[in-house]
Symmetry: C2
């Protein structure tokens, strides 16, 4: 799950090109020998891709690499014309860099994509069907087996003999949908489905056993009627034998592969963690420059030892001087402000409880857990369960605060949030990674429809702080003043804050506040760090063209005070809104509706926001593709104003 924000590695990076992979595949050696070599070379390339992109999941790309390589080199059938027949995909999708490296090595993805991980014109952070040979969109957890069942149904209807290999994580098995999906696969005897569990024992932050222990996993699958195998996921002989036995099963099969997270680089292997280490650090993000160099060298040495043993020449490497794009100037983050505000609130309220779904680090809860271990409830990757637990706590006098990524929190437990809302209790939901940036992870992680999804929950107020200073006032309002529940949209990326709240600012429901821009005829209403920064920059550009655009922060995403709006627009000739969200269901609709209901006719009006699924890429590219960067905004506003 985690989406740690990393930094691209600067300096010399290495990768192997396709002809080296071709050489290895044609070596006169046992399949297991060739495959192990291939896998280590793919590890080297995945490491390159992640180091270059500045983020990606090393740990699971490496733990699953031997299995993914074996399946693609030795197991999956091709049609007579050479096209793929059997299908493989990863349900979790986090291990995409590993899969991409394998697919590039096999010529199933363009060679230049090795340089284009998490770029708008290249490979998205999680798989997408618009990329060649990607089978289904993943990144949202737990859907893979269901998807495979649907495909199996279609294949059977069409008389096609296609075997489906689905990789899942082990933390992913905490998702309820996995267990939903097992039932009919067994009842319908879908023997063309083989699930491989990458059982690397680690979740985003901590050991599975510390997060939400899975217990007797083979017994669970067996009780659900599946054929179960368990092997060392790095022992290709064991794996081949298990796959052979699976072929004889008369129903769906699961192979639980015991693997090592970060396998292949000694200091990235989770088994190398000090027993008192706070957490595993190579789940997501990018290695530091020295870590990269050390890891790459270790892989290269290992590959060359294997080549030498097989009587083959050493690896020929491609070298790239990587010069990452300059980082934006001074940036700020909401996360520390939230950690502090939550702890302060918990000091005042001994019934405040923080719940987490395997994202303690990304949601700023590590300090909270240190301070209040007995009031931290780790639910594992089980958002429905987390939200309903919170509902139960709230009924019994607690103030539960549910934390996750906004894309998951607003959607997976959507009915559970509503169920809580109908009980008229108070639950606080805090969704991180809100909005379209970071653009690296792709649409499964870009939360750009949560205002809509949570909007119509009665009594639930949606808020987004504009800067670190606004976090505590809004959180305190939710805890101490609001009678109902609240949902917070939180930007995770560090971002510029070229504006400031007025001195003595105090939040007031449905009221916005001017924070920047230049006096003039037009007003733009928006919210959050990312869009306020764009709006301010656009206002500066417009000023050069003689247009005054006033920038208003309205942190209330589903509450607009009509009288305040009328006052704000008095004497103005144009109203713009800017959503870090799809236009449909965003704040803009609510603002425009309020303006119309106030009888404020005759103004020029335009909503800016997402109209299509956002791309995966650099933050700048994502904003630009959506027409929401400062330049596009300024041009759009000027056009609307007739300038």
């Amino acid at each position: 799950m985690g989406e740690l924000i990393g930094k691209a590695v600067e300096g010399e990076l290495y990768y192997a090109d396709r002809k080296e992979f071709d050489r290895i595949r044609s070596l006169n050696a046992e399949p297991a020998v060739r495959t192990a070599l291939f896998a280590d070379m793919a590890r080297l390339n995945a490491l390159y891709m992640i180091a270059r992109a500045g983020s990606g999941h090393i740990g699971s790309s490496f733990s699953s690499m031997d299995v993914v390589s074996w399946l693609h080199l030795n197991e999956m059938r091709t049609n007579e014309d050479g096209s793929a027949r059997d299908l493989y995909f990863s349900s979790k999708g986090h291990d995409a860099p590993g899969l991409y490296a394998v697919m590039i090595a096999l010529g199933k993805l363009p060679a230049e994509y090795v340089h284009k991980l998490r770029q708008a014109d290249g490979l998205p952070g999680h798989p997408d069907v618009r990329t060649p040979n990607m089978v289904t969109n993943t990144g949202a957890l737990g859907m893979g087996i269901s998807k495979a069942k649907g495909m199996a149904f279609a294949h059977r209807r069409r008389g096609l003999d296609v075997h489906l290999y689905v990789m899942t994580g082990d933390g992913e098995l905490q998702e309820g949908q996995i267990w939903e999906s097992l039932v009919s696969a067994a009842n319908d005897k879908l023997r063309e489905i083989t699930v491989v569990v990458d059982h690397n024992k680690l979740q985003s932050d901590f050991l599975l056993s510390q997060t939400s222990d899975l217990g007797d996993l083979p017994a669970k699958f067996a009780a659900f009627g599946w054929h179960v195998e368990r092997v060392d996921g790095h022992d290709l002989g064991q794996l081949a034998a298990a796959l052979e036995r699976c072929r004889k099963a008369d129903g769906p099969q699961v192979i639980i592969c015991d693997t090592i997270k970060g396998k292949g680089v000694s200091f990235m292997e989770h088994t190398a963690m000090e027993s008192d280490a706070a957490q595993y650090t190579f789940h997501s993000g990018a290695p530091k420059a020295d870590q990269y160099t050390k890891a790459a060298q270790e892989l290269i040495d290992s590959i060359n030892r294997q080549l030498d043993k097989a009587g083959a020449a050493s690896l020929e490497l491609e070298k790239v001087q990587n010069k990452p794009a300059p980082q934006p100037g001074e940036t700020r983050r909401l996360l520390p402000a939230y950690s502090d505000a939550l702890i302060a609130a918990a000091e005042r309220h001994d019934n405040l409880v923080a719940l987490d779904a395997d994202l303690l680090l990304d949601t700023g809860l590590i300090p909270f857990r240190q301070r209040f271990p007995e009031r931290t409830v780790e639910c594992g990757i089980a958002e429905m369960d987390m939200v309903s637990q919170a509902g139960g706590m709230a009924l019994k006098g607690m103030i539960p605060v549910c934390n996750s990524f906004a894309c998951f929190l607003s959607t997976r437990p959507n009915e559970q949030i509503y169920n809580n809302a109908t009980e008229h209790t108070k639950v606080i939901y805090v969704g991180w990674l809100a909005g379209m940036v970071p653009g690296g992870p792709g649409h499964s992680h870009q939360s750009v429809r949560d205002i809509a999804a949570v909007g119509a929950m009665p009594g639930v107020t949606i808020l987004e702080p504009s800067c670190p200073e606004e976090v505590a006032p809004l959180l305190d309002w939710a805890i101490e003043e609001s009678r109902g529940s609240s949902y917070f949209r939180m930007v995770s990326v560090p971002w510029q804050v070229p504006f400031a709240l007025p001195a003595g600012y105090k939040p007031s429901v449905g009221h916005g506040v001017r924070v920047g821009g230049h006096d003039g005829e037009a007003v733009i209403v928006t919210y959050g760090m990312v869009m306020l920064a764009q709006a301010c920059a656009a206002a500066d550009l417009l000023k050069q063209r003689g247009i005054g655009l006033e920038v208003v922060n309205l942190p209330w995403l589903n509450r607009v005070d009509g009288a305040w709006l009328a006052k704000t627009l008095a004497g103005k000739s144009a109203l713009f809104t800017l959503d870090n969200h799809y236009l449909d269901g965003g704040q803009g609709e609510r603002v425009m509706t309020a303006a119309f209901e106030q009888g404020l006719g005759g103004l020029k009006a335009r909503r800016f926001g997402l109209e299509k699924v956002p791309v995966s890429g650099s933050n700048a590219d994502v904003l630009k593709h959506a027409g929401l960067d400062a330049e596009s905004l300024a041009a759009g506003i000027a056009a609307t104003l007739g300038h």
Copy 2:
């Protein structure tokens, strides 16, 4: 799940009042004897309540009644002041009539509530915490164990010793959240939670084994680390012994109770079904008058035999002459039109597949399944799995049509619908029971936020047919013209249709059509059978006051063509919208936004729609409470116009 629409029974109905229950509880007899008597009397009262209300779930109220009675009479502890200490609730909530009957008999609910099932001033169709002694809101499936865990956490924090008994259905075990919730209960050794499975083997329509077989249920729970017992759920001695063993367990326990759906009335017992019977008919709805009389008599006879055997006097019964409120005049239904349109589409498209989540009857799929058994996929109560399966099918060339109740379909698989949408395939979602009526089932089943929840899915068009004639044209548009996916909101209740589509009507995206009302200065834009009928009736009332209100049907719930709207409003002085949905995120916001963006200022404007959680009650009461009946609408419109 099912919510068959029944009819209240007219004529003489019977129930037992509290003093008769008190008499039975003080009988000098074994607890098992007293409890069996109590349970049969509660069955008689639940039958009365359902017959009087015209709907409710007989089957599961009866199958669970012995267990519920035993727990309340013999197992659950009270505090020294007589207040409840241990807590019981049903996770499925369908069996509410049974629980209500028990609670009324024990004096834990007001005596007059026996006459007020599914009434706005009485008992909601599914439990709600605003009713005395109801522990949590249920009706949406699978949340109960999670809720109990949250309560257990709060109790432990507060140093309270409270045991939690949670009833689940067996069909309910198909929901993924159940399996999510089992994990931490076992890891945290929550021995204060006892789950009782009402294993009556039947789902809404068919046998569990025909729907989505559960396989080896005890093995499943055991694999998840729970202490497992299995008993005959009508054998109180077995039950008592199992509960005794549970008390010694050091973790959470589950008691799988083999029960008979409809237990207590011979012809309602599922075991009495002919082996070739199409389906079980006493899941939801109400008995017919002769069925009621026969069932009541059978229960009374059985009770009197038991009383006689215990040396006690016969039952004293209260009699009520029930005269149901008059039904509305001629009504029409969308369901048959949908069944026909779907079959016709499937005749044209051999890749069209219908998927169902245990609601074949309520979603009109019985004829489809008869015609195309090989293209009907029954998923059980597993909406996430259904939607992701549909996604897999669509990727492989099928046109999947997912059917369920709108309240579940738009929310439980919300992230799965989005995942499919990001693949840019075509999936049709058809959500029944849309809107606030029927009001009987209560808010868990009233789908009044699905426009918001599904609205911001890129490429997904939301539609609601206004009358049977509009079903096929809209469905055909979705299947044959739309490039993206569609979500249909379908009214389930029979309703008046005092309007007609113009001759030669052809749907056009974002365009509405005038269907009724009277020429004049004001326009109301709305959709669907229920609200169009209200709007037309309001227009008639307004005409008497000299106000002309034109009624426009806009079946596109998240698409508004601005030019069409401007044309429609030309020369008008007021725009009203009417949502069968919360105001927040409804069609009204989209219409008002489009009007403002068209520069149509200066009109009087008001949105009508839900502002609070709707009540559970008669359809008329539900509309009236929300201020959305014709009279309230007319008054509101007149006031806005200054009349």
